[in-house]
Subunit: 189 residues, 2 copies
Amino acid sequence: MPKIVDHDARRRLIADALMKVAADQGLEAVSLRHVAAAAGVSVGMVQHYFHTKDEMMAFALAAVMDRTETRIRTAVAGLGENPPPRLLLRTMIAALLPLSGTARDDGRVALAFLAYAAVRPEAGAGLRPGTGQLVEFVAGLLPDPHGVASAGALLALMEGLGVYLLGGQMTPDQALTALDAQLDLLFLP
Amino acid sequence: MPKIVDHDARRRLIADALMKVAADQGLEAVSLRHVAAAAGVSVGMVQHYFHTKDEMMAFALAAVMDRTETRIRTAVAGLGENPPPRLLLRTMIAALLPLSGTARDDGRVALAFLAYAAVRPEAGAGLRPGTGQLVEFVAGLLPDPHGVASAGALLALMEGLGVYLLGGQMTPDQALTALDAQLDLLFLP
DNA sequence: CGTTTCGCAATACGACTGCATTGCAAAGGT
DNA sequence: ACCTTTGCAATGCAGTCGTATTGCGAAACG
């Protein structure tokens, strides 16, 4: 067998270029040619590693989710062992919000995928399963009187803050203030 | 001057067709030809009433916002004079959520526009100004200890519920339960 | 030292896009 | 009755899209 290359590295290179294009020109600007140009490679090479565009999109979406999970995990890791529930929640949610830099770019891509998934249900099937477990996890962190409804509300709040941040209707300060107000509501009886 | 036709009626006809296409095939499927076909007219006629595609999109977005405002207004009108603040808020937010039917279609279109606006800030400029006033209005309805931060949080919650509803991560029941939990939090000290 | 297999570039194809152009029918105004 | 203006259909054009095809250089194996 000839020329050994790291297939997965190439795929990540291409996926990174895709997300760069999507983040600053929108998902509808993601084409094989644009992605190839952004990655500095030929269209043929992109086709070599992704047989179809959908395959490439799916890989990129998975990469965004991976990066997001990593971002949360490292943020939480900085908290030490057994952090107080309120701090843990605030840290996780703040890490998930598109406040700046990479998180903002990822958020834009995720929002675009969300809109796409709202119309192509089978495309967003991968997004759905995590939410139920997340609600239960959050519910376990809330003080006693609150149930899964409040957990769902908190997650919805987070999602909405993300949308407002990306749309420019809220500044990062305003979003974090709103988040803290909600946590006050939940944790201070 | 020849043949008098109701310009605005034609534009609304075309915009309705656009929203139909966008609602069940996504915003990226909105093209002059598809919209014309959905409206049962020729491409030339669409071009006659909208000189450019962006003009057509802007008109359609304005129409969605109009319909939404009307939906809220009629829902609130059914409440009579001086309704209690909590009921007023619940009614307004429930009318805004994409729970079913037209509201769901409008929601899909709005979400698509949102994703588009996250990347083309000048396109979503029309969306932004209303939010600030809305926050203040909501803040005025909340009982005493709560400020604009809680109002922003409530609106973000609404937005997030909308996203979850469209994405299928929440059922209408779950969304309304979460909304009520939040209103409990705000109104029952 | 072939030979084979892989990595990748180039190009061609048909479908689609937004938009400009052209032409014609119909309907007032005079 | 003519003329002008408007409503609208048809068609053409240049560009982009995803994908299939083709071909060639390079690297490991026999």
